[in-house]
Structures are given as C-alpha cells and as structure tokens.
C-alpha cells in the first residue's frame, strides 16, 4: 500500500495552482445538461396542486374533472380526504399530461374542499407561541466555574451564580437579537425526469446526493436500490436542500410506473420557495457580563425559533458562538409553526448562532466605548475550538485588507456625509468540513489514457476539476489528460455533498486510488530504468528516476508496459479515518464596511473582506469562488432575503422572485478573499470550505450598521424599514 501524502508546496505541479474548471465550456455554451434540460421521448409533464391553506383538513378531493381535461393522462392523489395539511403549498395531487399547459389546466380542474384549522406563524413572538401551545423545550445547559454544593438546588444555584457574576461584572450588556427564516431558493427548482421501464427506474434528479437517493425511490416502488439509477451531471443549486428524492420525485416515479411513460416533474417557483427548503429562524434574549478588558465572564441566554411544522430551533450547542465564556446558561425553546419543515441550509445552525451571539460582542464594545476589533481580540481567550492563534492572525490580515485602523471610529461617532454614515464590523466562525465517505475506481489503459468513476456530484463547487487535479498531480499529467466520470449512482459510492465534506472525500479517494495505481506502474517501469520502484517519480508526463531525470520514459511508454490489460484500482476513504490527506475544523474572520442612509434606512455594502482557512487548497480558483459565493449569500441574508408570511393566514406572501429579494450585481460591493494557507494549515490536508464563508456575514454586517449608526438593528434582514425603526427608537 502506498504511503499516502500530498506533495510539498514546492513539489506540487498541479494542486495549489489556479485551474479553470473542466466543465466551464459546457456551462458557458449551453451544452451542460441540467435535470431541467432532460426531456425523454414520450414523456408526460407533471404539475402539482399545492394546498392554498397553511393549516386545514381536506374534507373532499375530486380529481375527476382533471381527468376530463384533454391531454391529462393521470392524476396521482397524494393527500386524501381527512388529511391534515400543516403548511401552505403541501402537494395534494400531481397531474401528468401530454403538455405543460394541459397539466396546468388539470391542476386547476381539481376540486378540493377544506376545513380551516388554527394557524400560527409568528415564530418571533415567544409569548404568542406559548399562548398558542406551539412551544416545546429544545434543551439547555448551565456551566459555571463554581460548582453547586451537595445540598444546593442546581437551578437555584445557577440563578444565584449568574446574578452574582453579572453583578461583579464591570460591563453588562442586555439585548435582543434575531434572524428571520429564509429559503434555499435554488435557481434550478427541485425535480426530476424519471423513466420506469422493464422493472427498472432511471431517475434524472437534481440532487446533491447521487449515491444516496436510489434507495429512496426503490423503497416506495417496491424495487431494490440496484434497480434504480440516479443521474445528475449538472445541478442548478442545492445549498443543503437536495439530499433526497423527495415525495414529489417519488410521485413522478410512481406515475411513470403506472402509465409506462417517462415523467418530468419540476416544481414551479412558488412551490420551490414554499416547500423545498428553508432555514430556521432564531431570536435571542441575552445578558452578558464582562471584565474591565471586555472579556465576557458570564452569558445568560434564551433563544427560540422555528424549523416549521416539525419545530426545531437553532441548536443550543452553538450558542454562544465560538467564543464561549467559562460561565454560561443557555436554553432553547422550539416553536412549531405552519410552515414547511426546514432543511439543512448551508452551515446549519452556524449563521444564525453567529448572528445572534457575535452581535453581542460588538454591543459590548459599543457600551465600553472601545474598538470592536480589540474586544473581539480580548475574547479570543474564550475560543473553544483551539483556534485562537489562527483567529488572531486572520484578524490582523483582514484588518489590513479592510484598512480597519484607518477607517474605524467608535460606534455612531463617524463623520456624516449628508444623510450617509459609514461603519465597520467583524465576526468570526468555525466549521468542521471533514472528508465524507468516497470511493473511486481508476483505470489506466495501455494507451496511456486515464479515466475515473466516482458517485459524487459537482454542485458548481468544482468537484470534477478537483478530482482531475488530484489524479493529474499524482501521475505527473495535466488535468485535461484525465477523464473524470461523476454523477451516477452506478459509480462507486461517494457521500452526499453537504457540510463541506466533498472536497476532502474525493481528494482522499482519488489520491489513494492514484497512488496505489502509480505504485503498480512503478513496479513495471523500474526494471526498464534499472532502478527500484521507490526511486521513481511521475513528473511532467514522464516517469523518471529521482535525482536522475535523464533516466526516464514517457507516461505513454510506461502504460504500454501494461500489455493488453488495463490497470484498474478502486480505493475508498471512510469518513473519520485519520489521514494525512484531509482534516477538519477551520477558522475564518470576516469584516464588513457599510454605508447607511439615515433618512431612508438603506444599507449599502461598500467592501467585504473574508479571510478563510481550509487546510490545503487544491484549486485556489474554485476555492475562492466558494468564498465569494458564501459572502454573497451572507449579504443576501443580512440585507435582502426574508420569508414573509401573513400572520393571520400563514400564506407565504413573497414566494415569487419578483418579491423574494435577492442581491443583484450592484448590491454586494467589493469583496476581497484571502485564502489563509500557511504551512501550519496546509500540512493538515484538505478541509471543505463550502459552509464557513456563509456564516459570518450577517453578524459582521449587523455590527457594521451598528458601528455606523450607533444603534443596533436587532433582527436580520436589516431592511430599510427595520433600520428606520431602530433609529426612531433611539430618537
């Protein structure tokens, strides 16, 4: 077995070099086929009837008028009379027709009668939720340096100890902070085109989980997972919402099974927003006490929020976020609302936890009349992830890139230019990003061609390119010399792309397979070069003797030694196995510079700096792209995005892109990305970075607004209306 390792920074020929993505041409010429682009011969088009009510019982459903619509072939009822529906948009029936128009007409023709039930969507209002009986405990934890005595009541001791610590604190901050739910809003909606034929199902599915969705189809259709193939070559966004076939994908498969026709079923935009993924809200009341240096000594919080009809607020484990004092008490209340269940949203829990707890640190700086940077710096002693030194260095770099020292002023004390004030804010974050399970089969043919197969997927993160770069690096070739096959459940199993686990997983499996294959090739080449296999290296399209580069043969000549039998290797990496190739736990620091119009409440992004550690960087080009993207999504959550529900009816009122605000080109300002990769981090191996950069922006922007105006706008998104309300409260 090979000695798995990465080449040093000096030795690396491919990894660490800015490499254009291999699918770039396909994406810029329209030849990249997304699920939405798959049309199969003889297919039916399916459309859904979504429930118009947020909470009701179906008393009657009659699909016969739909079946009389010309072109309608089949109506699949998903929710019968008697069913309780708990969120607007829930799919009641699916109509499959010869054309999209006929399917839409069929949906309109279905007659449903409903019995309305009580609706609750005011997740921000804890008292109202309690009155409505919509709350449940989400747990909590108390930790204090002083332990209760054997005869002490633990709750009373905690009460007394927290009060004592607050009283002993030089500075106390008490506040309310929050963040509303947002949706995933993938530009390519969820959906599939499926074909059931000869007892087998072929499913083109827009998915982040090619290897893990076949069994979801199989279970419902009474097939084995081996009877199902899931394919996804290109996907128009997932962000944590596309891990499963979903019940609408299964419905399409069922219709195909029943009608013997392929079925295409992509969600319309409104259902995409209503059903296909949202991020839980979080609202927090907190008191903190800090010493004379601004180091928080005690934290006492209660937060609540909703993951929709299944409850589920932000986990208590990440509050307070990263910087956790020695004394704290935290508790969580889950609220059940009439909204579709939340799904994993890029960096689950972390953006909310960061937004509701690192704003507190900035308010502490405001109360102290000190520079936020210094207060964050002082609180690094409370970093619980062992990354204080990394944060310190990242803060230094970020501050330099931002021009923090030159620009900073105390909260609300900056110059006013007409109605405009400017401010700076920062936040920091952490994430795991450990490698997921991944397998790779690699074939080297005697003609020198190299091909790999792996059941992973490329969400636009650059996974294909990373796979090719790792193989090319190992074989001394260029990425264009290798053919990478991904996107089918029939390929060797690889984990879902979630939690920043893909780059580590595929780097592991591809590097391992390639190093194993190379070792075998070296054994064939060694006698030719009159050397030992261990003395050989693959560089620049040749296999040569280390230290004697003139003793070499070309890659093609070497592969010809295989005779007529290709060399095939399969290697796997099991998540959690210690490895020199990958690692976990990253740190990042971000800083925002905003301008706020005191008359209109409009916040404009001027500049944003992101300094991010992700261990060893395989492709700086796609790696930086993830950070730009994460920052933009963070800006979206800070200033624009908001799921707005009618408090009385529970209707999702901005479920179209005309009303669901997302930032546009002119809304994000200048973004500076710094890949933090000193030797100390590079030697840790690969760590994923899809999640981390999306965590800090909301807190950093909130802090920048507060720095500009001297006022905390408590709940994200920081819309003009909310900014003006906060300013008026101060006035």
């Amino acid at each position: 077995m090979a000695n798995y390792a990465w080449p040093s920074r000096d030795e690396a020929q491919v990894i660490g070099k800015k490499t254009s993505r291999l699918d770039g041409v396909a994406k810029s010429t329209g030849t990249a086929k997304y699920t939405y682009d798959v049309n199969l011969k003889g297919q039916l088009i399916a459309k859904a009837l979504g429930c118009p009510h947020a909470h009701c019982r179906i008393t009657k459903i009659d699909t016969s008028p739909a079946l009389r619509v010309p072109g309608v072939v089949h109506v699949e009822v998903l929710r019968d009379a008697g069913s309780e529906i708990e969120w607007q948009g829930e799919i009641l029936a699916v109509v499959a027709a010869e054309t999209e128009g006929a399917a839409a007409e069929g949906v309109k023709a279905i007659r449903v009668e409903y019995e309305p039930l009580d609706v609750f969507v005011k997740d921000y209002d804890l008292e109202a939720a309690e009155r409505a009986g919509r709350t449940s405990s989400g747990g909590g934890r108390v930790q204090t340096e002083r332990e209760p005595g054997p005869n002490d009541d633990e709750d009373k001791f905690a009460d007394a100890e927290i009060e004592r610590l607050l009283k002993a604190s030089k500075y106390v901050v008490e506040g309310f902070y929050g963040i509303d739910p947002i949706t995933h809003c993938c530009l390519e909606p969820h959906g599939s085109t499926v074909e059931f034929k000869d007892g087998k199902l072929l499913a083109y599915l827009s998915t982040q989980n090619v290897s893990g969705t076949d069994d979801g189809f199989a279970r419902d259709l009474n097939l084995t997972a081996s009877d199902v193939e899931v394919r996804c070559d290109y996907i128009g966004g997932g962000f944590g919402s596309k891990f499963a076939p979903d019940y609408w994908g299964v419905a399409a498969a069922r219709i195909s099974q029943k009608t013997g026709r392929p079925v295409k079923f992509m969600l319309d935009r409104d259902l995409e927003l209503k059903l296909a993924g949202n991020r839980p809200s979080a609202y927090l009341k907190v008191r903190v006490g800090a010493d004379e240096n601004g180091v928080i000594q005690v934290w006492d919080s209660h937060h609540w929020g909703t993951g929709g009809a299944t409850g589920g607020a932000v986990s208590q484990n990440v509050v307070p976020y990263v910087l956790v004092p020695k004394n704290y008490r935290r508790r969580v209340t889950n609220i059940k609302t009439n909204a579709a269940p939340a799904r994993a949203w890029r960096a689950p829990n972390h953006p909310q936890a960061c937004a509701i707890s690192q704003t507190v640190i900035d308010d502490l700086a405001r109360v102290m009349g000190k520079d936020s940077y210094d207060v964050f710096l002082a609180n690094l002693v409370n970093a619980t992830n062992g990354k204080a030194d990394v944060y310190r260095e990242q803060m230094r770099i970020a501050a330099e890139l931002m021009g923090w020292k030159e620009k900073y002023h105390l909260h609300g004390k900056g110059p006013r230019n007409g109605s405009i004030v400017e401010g700076l804010g920062m936040a920091l974050h952490t994430w795991g990003g450990a490698a997921n399970n991944s397998s790779c089969t690699l074939r080297i043919r005697p003609d020198g061609s190299v091909e790999s197969w792996c059941g992973t997927q490329d969400l636009g993160t650059g996974t294909r390119t990373v796979c090719a770069m790792v193989l090319a690096e190992t074989f001394g070739l260029s990425p264009a010399d290798v053919r990478v096959n991904i996107g089918s459940s029939k390929y060797p199993v690889s984990g879902a792309s979630g939690g920043s686990t893909t780059v580590g997983g595929v780097s592991e499996s591809h590097r391992r397979a390639a190093q194993d294959a190379l070792e075998k090739l070296f054994a064939l080449v060694a006698p030719k070069l009159e050397a030992q296999a261990e003395q050989l290296e693959a560089v620049g399209g040749r296999i040569r003797v280390k230290g004697a580069p003139q003793r070499s043969i070309s890659w093609k000549e070497a592969c010809a030694l295989l005779g007529d039998m290709p060399l095939e290797v399969t290697q796997s990496y099991r998540s959690g196995t210690p490895s020199p190739l990958s690692s976990s736990q990253v740190a990042g620091v971000q800083m925002a510079h905003v301008a706020v119009d005191l008359e209109t409440g409009v916040v404009r992004m001027k500049k944003f700096v992101a300094v991010q550690d992700q261990g060893l960087v395989i492709n700086p080009k796609t790696c930086a792209s993830q950070i730009y993207g994460g920052v933009c999504m963070g800006i979206a959550g800070a200033l624009f995005e908001q799921r707005i529900m009618d408090p009385e009816t529970g209707a999702f009122v901005n479920c179209e892109l005309s009303d669901y605000r997302l930032p546009r080109l002119g809304d994000v300002g200048e973004i500076i990305v710094h890949l933090y990769e000193p030797d100390s981090e590079r030697q840790r191996g690969v760590v994923g970075n899809g999640e981390p950069p999306v965590i800090s922006p909301i807190a950093a922007i909130s802090n920048a607004i507060c720095n500009a105006t001297g006022v905390r706008v408590p709940v994200a998104p920081y819309t003009p209306q909310r900014v003006l309300e906060a300013l008026q409260r101060r006035a």
């Binding site: 966004g237 892109l657 080109l665």
Partner: protein
C-alpha cells in the same frame, strides 16, 4: 392561436406550427432542443432565460413566440463561430464567472446585449445593465470582471 410561424434562430430560418401565445422559452427548449436558456422564475425576474432578439436582450419566458416571428433570435448556442467561443464566453471562462452555471447562459446573453450597445462599459454600467440577472451562487464580482475582460477582447486589446 395555432399558426405557422417562421422563427430565425441562430441564423437559421425554421417554419413551425405553434400556439403563438406560447413562451419563446418553451419553444426554444421543447421544440428546438436549445437548452441554454433556462427556466428560473417564469416571470422575467431572474434573467436565466435571456436571449437576444434583433440584438437586444429579452426574457424568453415572458416573450410570446408569436411576437418574435421573423426576428433574429440568438441563443447562447448561436454565439460560437468556426468552433471558437465568443469573446464573452471566453471571458466568463477565464474569469471563472460561474459556479453551478444555471444563470450563466442568460448572463452571457445579457452581457452580449450590453456590449453591442456599449462596447466599453464601466463597472457601474455593467452592474446597472445586468441588474435583472440573478446568480444565487454569488459570483457577481467575477461576472463584472468577465464583462470587462470581454469588452477588452472584443476591442482586440490584451485582456
């Protein structure tokens, strides 16, 4: 109303019998097999379906096919010439101005429309002109750089 329409798509005249109220997007995709223009929102707000009609960017999802009969329709598939990428496509590649790529073809067509009208746009003009395009992955900064690079390429200058 169903009628015979002549569509000139990427320089090629096609006679088709169509409902003239259908969206141009659905005709391009479902009848002509041109998938570069994408469905994003179906109401003209995301820009993923953008094509050029007589050189001007149009949202194909809200354009009735009957209104563009006889006009010059250009989709992203029509940009390549002699097997070479259009400078805007080349610039998007070089600047890596996309992630998932779902918005990319529409964004490229929007950029082509801008550069026809204004061959040397400033960054601010690019942001304003392409304001109707959404990129959920957040590659905006690189998109602006790509359009600037394309502008230089089209001028024959070094990018």
């Amino acid at each position: 109303m169903r009628r015979q329409l002549e569509l000139v798509v990427n320089g090629e005249a096609r006679r088709l019998e169509l409902e003239d109220q259908r969206s141009l997007l659905s005709v391009l995709r479902d009848d002509l097999g041109l998938y570069g223009a994408k469905y994003g929102c179906g109401e003209g707000h995301c820009g993923a379906c953008t094509v050029l009609v007589d050189g001007v960017p149009r949202r194909s999802c809200t354009t009735q096919v009957g209104t563009v009969a006889g006009k010059e329709i250009t989709t992203v598939e029509g940009l390549e010439h002699d097997g070479k990428l259009h400078p805007v496509q080349q610039a998007f590649l070089e600047e890596e101005a996309f992630q998932c790529g779902y918005c990319t073809c529409g964004m490229i067509m929007g950029a082509c429309g801008l550069l026809r009208r204004n061959p040397r746009p400033t960054a601010a003009q690019i942001r304003t002109f392409l304001d109707g395009h959404l990129c959920r992955c957040g590659t905006y900064q690189r998109i602006v750089a790509a359009v600037q690079r394309a502008s230089r390429l089209l001028q024959g200058a070094q990018p």
